[in-house]
Amino acid sequence: MRHVISVSVDNEPGVLSRVTGLFSGRGFNIESLCVAPTIDPDVSHITLVTAGNEMIIEQIIKQLRKLINVIKVVDLTATEHVEREMALVKVKAEDRQRAEVLRIADIFRCRVVDVSPATYTLEITGTTEKLNAVLGLLKSIGIQEVVRSGSLAIQRSRKD
């Protein structure tokens, strides 16, 4: 099963390599990985998407906690959370297709971030499913290049 894991780490050189080394060394897989500093400059945050059975996910979480530079690990899959991913996609857009690309962009609330006579570059934000849907549609028109950020996720606040 797919799990989204939120990891706070010391913002120091080599820490990311400890995390990824753990995954490669123990044969765990990483579907995506997002890293950036937090508002505390000493702390970085990693959102990590992985897959495995219950025993493997439990090991992943415990092994991450065992790393000296890891401050906090939360399996967001077990809690209410919001998940977003961003993609930048360069689509072929010539003649009649120019309008079609814009229509798709409009429907999915994408932003056009770059324009050339033969292409549009779109910024798409949403769940992984939404990104897959947009890219599916654009594929038939012609995608030149696509880059995806991997998932970011945050726990929902309590409503009461």
């Binding site: 010391d10 080599g14 390599s17 400890r18 080394g21 753990l22 060394g25 025993m55 439990e58 090991q59 415990k62 092994q63 906690r65 065992k66 790393l67 000296i68 530079n69 890891v70 401050i71 906090k72």
Partner: protein, 562 residues
């Protein structure tokens, strides 16, 4: 007061209580070595190869219960320690390894004798550091020792660039440690302890399976008390030898691939298995799906990652073995004295029957010199009081089977990594830590040659370690597998060795040889009466196998007995 990096380094070691370091000098650590000449409280032991330094620090740590320290130069000095570090990591042994590094401006430039040792050792250290500023040096060294010795212990590496060693600052030596993300849990949850005891009291066929954690947490007294109070038989892993006072009526010997018949049968048929400071290694469990198939499992371990890693357990207890066992003992006391159930008595009787049916044995009447006989004689003539280190392979298994270890910290063996060449330098480390004890390395003719160069260290520092080579002319354990599973095709396992007696003499040690059973006692007696390093060359039967044996991948109750 302003101090240089080298002065801070040595001051930090003094503050950590370090008395001995094992090392080898080189270009980037010259300043530290220069400062050592003005540092009377630390004795430096010059090894002949850096792998020896790491193993010696490991042996020192195992025998003394303190942190072992080694110091080497950059590049090859650092890479040579890696096998020693990996071995200490697998066996959770607290050592701190200091490596020199090229000056920080040169890092990444492929400078002379530069290697990314922090990158190389990341997967085989508990933690490691590259010190980039002399201002951080005192804090990092203090953290390194703290991390090495606390929680589940392990090796920590500190990489010291030359400009940091030469840097000058007014150091602040920290009294306290604050690592926000490192806080090992020593205290076992009393609710889990209660649940565990309830299960144990109801058990009809309980067994304790103890590992190296018992020794690391100094829990052997509590373990013995618990086993005796509730009359539970005890088996230990290779790493746990000495954690329970062998021989003892409740003692089952070692379990696993070359464990005793009765230990493996007991674990296979038990209804409650109490794992204490052990980690369900594949050499212990055999075919994992059929390990202890009838048992509810209780697992005490300080490292949460060890729990339910290989085998799903019923009652996990995260905490220090000593803490958990003393809570169990306190709680069990309320139920004592206690009459054993009929089923429990029948269980003990069954185990006694297994012991009688298939004791550890070998052919005593062949007339050949058997390796097991040598180990038995070593036990007899030292009254079981020696510190035993081993190399890896058949010698290691025969030592584990035929030299019962009575006390913790008296058994040094590379368990997890299975690192040939471990035993001799580890024995030197143990001899430095325990100068008044008899230290014996039980070796093979293959393994001893992996770090034989340390004989010069033994002679130079007057470390009277005794090496007993069970010389069968083969890489014996590999040969055994070839014999049993590869139709005796002995591919590159027969090996030619030097004349060990002459070799010993060339180093300035004493060399002795026995070729017949009748010569063994005299050789051992002479070795024990000689106050210098001794190499004993025992020409043993060449195709002897270690038995019993559970073939790799088979369940534990399916042992080869003959």
């Amino acid at each position: 007061m302003k101090m240089t990096g080298s002065q801070i380094f040595l001051k930090c070691l003094e503050r950590e209580g370090v008395k001995h370091i094992f090392g080898f000098p080189g270009g980037v650590v010259l300043d530290i070595y220069d400062e050592l000449t003005r540092t009377p409280f630390i004795k430096h032991i010059l090894v002949r190869h850096e792998q020896g330094a790491a193993h010696a620090a490991d042996g020192y740590a195992r025998a003394s219960g303190k942190v072992g320290v080694c110091l080497v130069t950059s590049g090859p000095g650092a890479t040579n320690t890696v096998s020693g570090i990996a071995s200490a990591y697998m066996d959770s042994i607290p050592i701190v390894v200091f490596t020199g590094q090229v000056p920080t401006p040169l890092i990444g430039n492929d400078a002379f004798q530069e290697v990314d040792i922090v990158g190389i050792t990341r997967p085989c250290t508990k933690h490691n550091y590259l010190v980039k500023d002399v201002k951080d040096l005192a804090r990092i060294i203090h953290e390194a020792f703290h991390i090495a010795r606390t929680g589940r212990p392990g090796p920590v590496l500190v990489d010291l660039p030359k400009d940091v060693i030469q840097g000058v600052t007014t150091p602040k030596f920290p009294e306290q440690i604050r690592i926000k993300s490192y806080n090992p849990n020593y205290h076992a949850n009393p609710k889990q302890i209660k649940k565990a005891l309830e299960l144990i009291l109801k058990a009809q066929r309980p067994v304790i399976y103890a590992g190296g954690g018992v020794i690391l947490s100094k829990a052997s007294e509590e373990l013995t008390k618990f086993a005796e109070a509730l009359q539970i038989p005890v088996t230990t892993t290779l790493m746990g030898l000495g954690g329970f006072p062998a021989p003892h009526s409740l003692w089952l010997g070692m379990l696993g691939m070359h464990g005793t018949y009765y230990a493996n049968m007991s674990v296979h048929h038990c209804d409650v298995l109490i794992a204490v400071g052990s980690r369900f290694d594949d050499r212990v469990t055999g075919k994992i799906e059929e390990f202890a198939p009838h048992a509810k499992i209780i697992h005490i371990d300080i490292d949460p990652t060890s729990i339910s890693k290989n085998v799903v357990v019923d009652i996990p207890i995260v905490g220090d073995c000593q803490d958990a066992l003393s809570q169990l003992n306190a709680l069990a006391a309320e139920h004592l004295p206690r009459e054993l159930s009929q089923a429990h008595r029948a269980w003990l009787a069954q185990i006694d029957q297994w012991k009688r049916e298939h004791p550890l044995t070998y052919d005593r009447n062949s007339g050949e010199l058997k390796p097991q006989f040598v180990v038995e004689k070593l036990y007899e003539l030292t009254q079981g009081n020696a510190i035993i280190s081993t190399e890896v392979g058949q010698n290691q298994m025969w030592a584990a089977q035929f030299y019962p270890i009575r006390n913790p910290n008296r058994w040094l063996s590379s368990g997890g990594l299975g690192c040939m060449g471990y035993g001799f330098p580890a024995a030197l480390g143990a001899q430095v830590a325990c100068p008044d004890d008899i230290v014996i390395d039980i070796a093979g003719d293959g393994s001893i040659q992996m770090n034989i160069q340390e004989m010069a260290t033994a002679v130079e520092y007057d470390l009277p370690v005794k090496v007993a080579i069970l010389n069968n002319g083969f890489l014996g354990m590999v040969r055994q597998w070839q014999q049993l599973f590869y139709e005796r095709r002995y591919s590159f396992t027969p090996m030619v060795s030097p004349d060990f007696v002459k070799l010993a003499e060339a180093y300035g040690a004493l060399g002795l040889r026995a070729e017949k059973p009748s010569e063994v006692e005299a050789v051992i007696r002479e070795a024990l009466n000689t106050r210098k390093p001794v190499l004993m060359d025992f020409r043993v039967a060449s195709e002897e196998c270690v038995l019993p044996m559970v073939p790799a991948g088979a369940p534990m109750h399916k042992m080869l007995l003959t």
